[in-house]
Symmetry: C4
Subunit: 297 residues, 4 copies
């Protein structure tokens, strides 16, 4: 079947209306990714630093040991370390950025943008917004977007909720204010659209370096023993093999303060080398994934 893009999009829309439950599966079946790619790989990093502790507990500012675990991002210059590795592999990523980090470290945020990566919002202070109300939540989202934009000149169109659950308003606020994608849900292995048109680029806890490696005593649920890098390798490389087999959207959820540790950089390097051995993999930012999904659905 040979359709021009407009005919194709019309057909796809009808299929979605007729078979809503099978839509994403049909998309997989027809090899939905650009240029004949078999699957997509979307590297994302949540730039939390000290706000992962302070977002819901400002008192951490007075706790030198715990605070130092966030300060580590800036003092050890982990962002340039990570950007250098991404450059060495020639891949672009998405950085979800806490607003206060753009305020306090504009030079670092600008460097991320200047190296060609996608920037997106990740809470004003990595705080829980479940109960703050629609107006206040809107204000904070816009404030965060502005802070990132002011620091970098890059206009974010994506979001990942930080520090807890989404509110009932989050997805409406995003669409009403020009965001095109959100990466807070885990509802599929593929991108999908909400009824209001927002594209979801799903993310998964097993692809979250925090869930595997964070060792922050006193920050539940990270009392558990950290895992070894070998376990991360097994989880992430095995997952990739599955995503590749089924033609899905493989999305990482890394945090510079974790993946940027010296040993974990070795693991990231190893993972990227592994993925690049496979033919027909589309490395894309979350924004590119979302824009592609909008263009074909």
């Amino acid at each position: 079947m040979c359709l021009n893009p407009d005919e194709r999009k019309t057909l796809v829309t009808s299929v979605r209306d007729l078979f809503p439950r099978f839509f994403e599966v049909l998309m997989m079946a027809e090899n939905v990714w650009p240029d004949g790619a078999r699957c997509s790989v979307c590297l994302t990093f949540d730039l939390d630093a000290e706000w992962v502790f302070m977002g819901n507990d400002p008192g951490v500012a007075e706790m030198p040991r715990k605070f130092s675990q966030g300060e580590y991002v800036w003092r050890a210059n982990l962002i340039p370390r990570i950007l250098d590795l991404l450059d060495a592999h020639g891949v672009k990523a998405t950085f979800f950025i806490v607003g206060m980090n753009a305020v306090n470290h504009p030079d670092v945020i600008q460097e991320i943008a200047s190296r060609g990566h996608d920037l997106a919002t990740h809470g004003w202070k990595h705080e829980n917004i479940e109960g703050v109300g629609k107006e206040e939540e809107t204000y904070r989202l816009l404030q965060t977007r502005d802070a990132i934009s002011d620091a970098s000149g890059y206009h974010p169109v994506g979001n990942r909720t930080a520090g807890g659950e989404l509110s009932p308003y989050t997805h409406a606020i995003l669409v009403d204010n020009g965001w095109i994608y959100d990466s807070s849900l885990r509802g599929s292995d593929m991108p999908y659209r909400l009824d209001n048109g927002l594209v979801i680029v799903p993310s998964y806890y097993e692809m979250d370096d925090f869930h595997l490696f964070a060792d922050y005593p006193g920050v539940a649920p990270y009392h558990a023993r950290m895992l070894s890098p070998e376990v991360g390798w097994e989880i992430w490389s095995n997952a990739f093999d599955g995503y590749y087999r089924y033609g899905l959207c493989y999305t990482t959820m890394f945090h510079p303060q974790i993946i940027g540790k010296p040993g974990n950089m070795m693991l990231l390097d190893r993972l990227l080398n592994h993925i690049k051995k496979y033919p027909d993999v589309w490395f894309a930012t979350a924004r590119e994934i979302a824009e592609h999904w909008k263009s074909v659905t």
Copy 2:
């Protein structure tokens, strides 16, 4: 000793009366499985989806992120993905199904039945029934069985209690209403019968993908770090080696929202390939196990 089936059954019954404690061991010793099989393998799947969260906490319906982890089963079409793999291996399984899932997704339930698998009850909403009383528990069990039957045309005769402990009435209700087996206990490596005649097909936490891989923050006890697929491989393949050595009943307790993840599908495929290398393995549904056990004891 060459006995006809009736003589054999009479002898077995006498042995059980004389040596109740050694009965299952005697059964192993005489190679109890059909057609000279050395051990049995019973693949089971608990189809919980969002009800694993909502069964005891309806508020999860308003928590988009947590809810999406259950919705994942339907949106990513995990059931067809799993059924395809079972077909590729030519094996039949048992699906323990939450009643509400049969109500909301009858087409999926029907597809499971139409592909030849065993369907069984697994709670109305995956809720704890310890304190609801005998009448209400009976009502819910029948309601769940009817929902599955209405969706699929298949009449369930098995049960696995969901979401907590069994009540003191569960096993009596099952027998009084025509169930022939239950798979909620862990009291042996072999099937066994309760005094009321109900066959127990035991299940084990170490064969439970939830206990190994579920990563659901806020759902105790899943704060612990998830394990790697390699660890699942080690636990499950090593267990199989032991069950095979001793001639026992190897029963898995998988959940589509866990085992259906892309990486875990690779693991399931690997496990089935491993088991199939062994001669004289009887792949059977829980119902087939139970019916066989009734026929020989």
Copy 3:
């Protein structure tokens, strides 16, 4: 230096008085084990079954699922399964037995004794005895010893406290009533004597299959994920390598309901095969260790 046994014992006693802190080290240095053995291996099993749950919570008797995890020991005949493996390897072990298990299953206890193993006390109901008072604690210890003796004809001389801490009286009660050793402490890698003469055969959590593999939801601290048998192999075989290097007393703390699972039997078999590859290993029961220690110190 060639001393007769009496001269040797006199010398050792003087050394202990002069250098109390270095005494155990001196014992290692002089290759303390019998017949030139380089290290000792003491296999012990805590026969708890359902009392591991019921000792401090009698309500478990009414919880069919949890109860079945203890009942598993009897129904699946795990003790004969374990005894057969020990026989196949030609080694004797120590079984620490909950009193109520001797009352309810005298035939199983007798079988352990008749196969030549050491039997010792392990609480009346696997209950916490910290607060019961000296008189009551004495009564229960004697009652447990009598129950084991009545069932098996074997007179226990060892003890391991179950279900919590020792009381301040435990060690005095043991000595005053004819016990010669206790295996509740972790204070050395070697046997040692308390001031009252009691021999301690230390045991260690990392040699405890419960701490590695027990998966009993609702029984803290076993919310954590179970480990794989490969991890058990790594911990136990690596530990043995260290105990062998330093000439120490390697003591396992297994539980039939854990180590008796089919997969774990493969692990135990593998571990025994590993140890037996090393020359000059003394397999001994805890009683033999204790009696030897009394003879040389």
Copy 4:
């Protein structure tokens, strides 16, 4: 650029003032370690013994089983065991010592000093000092330093806070009383200086044997399953590979009661053998690291 030491130090100081955030990175870039070393390795041991339990809970003295897990350090003579291994490898380490251990075991403390290692303070009783006030905290720090000095003749100039967070006063007290370094923070992969001149030799939880291997029931957060020595090997050797790649300061945080266990000694031996295969590694005590850092910054 060829500078004499004074010119170099002046330049470095200007760079630090101009580019505070990039200072440590510049230091790495210019290969900061002595004699052309590519990275530094700083082995440290926290000598806690029973005070890890008793520091915040004196009642442990009456709990024979838990107490025995700390007493193990002395009774099994773990310090000489560790010192022997360090001697065999020809490396010097830093021991952070709880004051009460110097009071109770002066001969052991003296032996550490006499073998050429660095001794530093680690709390009076391994107690939490967050709320005790500046005067009392000062008193305890001096008392601890004196106890170590009295036992060994070695004057400590380093500190690692034990048993909780630092107070707001800790770093000021240290500088005002002649300490030159602290090893309580995790703010970089390299040494760094606080505004008051104190050198921080950072330490990391993933290099902490307690976080990996401690199995102390009832001592949160050590309810989690212990890890296997193989996992320790993977974490520590992989971390070293990363520290070596980036030219950083690799600091271990071991505890004699954990790393001194027979199996873990095998792991430590293996780790040291691994590191020694790399050329241009500078093994240094924390004091040597700190003094070097003072000399170049």
